[in-house]
Symmetry: C2
Subunit: 213 residues, 2 copies
Amino acid sequence: MAKRNYGQFCGLAHAADLVGERWALLIIRDLLVSAKRFTDLRRGLPRIPTNVLSARLKQLEADGVIERRVLPRPEGSVVYSLTDYGHDLEPIVHALGRWGARSMGEPKPDDIVTPDSLVIAMRSTFQPDVAAALTASWELRAGPAVIHVKIDEGKLTTDVGELPDADLTIETGPAIKALMAGELTAEQAIEAGHVRLEGNPALLTTFAEVFRI
Amino acid sequence: MAKRNYGQFCGLAHAADLVGERWALLIIRDLLVSAKRFTDLRRGLPRIPTNVLSARLKQLEADGVIERRVLPRPEGSVVYSLTDYGHDLEPIVHALGRWGARSMGEPKPDDIVTPDSLVIAMRSTFQPDVAAALTASWELRAGPAVIHVKIDEGKLTTDVGELPDADLTIETGPAIKALMAGELTAEQAIEAGHVRLEGNPALLTTFAEVFRI
DNA sequence: CTGGATCCCTCACGATACTG
DNA sequence: CAGTATCGTGAGGGATCCAG
């Protein structure tokens, strides 16, 4: 049984054949942050059925977008990662994320925030020109999702997990989006209790300037 | 009944909620070329069921990506066009199209080529720096799809339809992709009979340089 | 415990017919 | 022309189970 496809000899149609199916782009989003095992992907995409995840991974691998590697002993575990071709989707994922964020209102009651999505949000909103020559680090906590962001002389690195010696730790909720969109100033966010800070509070303004929707 | 969504407070997930469903991106592709009526969209997407087209148009309108306008008399007909927000997808559609084109092999027997997809292919592969200060025009015929391309002092305009006074008319098939990808030189394409020209044949090489996968 | 496979159910999609 | 109506099919969703 051949895969369903759009039947058009067109780059966009072919791209949609490859990564246009449900969940595919979110799998790629998480793999852009780091290579992952099957179970890690499940954790980052709690609502994906395992059979769908399994099917997507198979198809994406067959299409040359991701790779499946079995680690050497003693782990013996399976790791999925992007191929070079798949990794070339990064600017597209970033641009789509920025585009979508512009019309994203308040989170619905059972919306979740995953660490990987936060990392991508940081990477895609980073303003290199604003951050030129800047050096600073933040830890960002949104509910259970904890990530960190470092800028070293204008160069960005960001990943999931804590950063105990961060210059500023920001504990926040959805308001972080309003802050990054400029709908809220740092002062307003602090006053309204939308953020809890630990460290150098002046760096909250810097943060809002460097990461911009 | 609420729309199915990914349940993640994430720009990419939200974008996928808006334009990630089947056919949505192809509808947007065609609307990027020009505003269209329901029947025009059907013509450009022959395999889309009308109820799906109808559902997509409704949802995209509700989400602020497209607009539905009823033309004043005597037409009284309905026209769909992109909103400003929807139009902002253009660079993303172009980038995805280029990405997909890289892994697009030979067309399958019943693959079709539509005029709109060709126009988008031209726009997304246009190399402004190569074309700087250039002035030339082409008519491109791929089966029933006929489009034209004009470059006026480096500025590109392209649309569906003929261009009787084009500097060069190119009648071709899938080989146009190989030509644009550099897998085939203009001479080889001519020699192998992949293209039929009418006009200034030297402009075929120019074409292959200016439109590059 | 990881990495899936399997089952069942539902609903979105696909094909076609039909209407204002 | 611009859709709606109907109906069959298959992909997606959810739970459970199994092998290494």
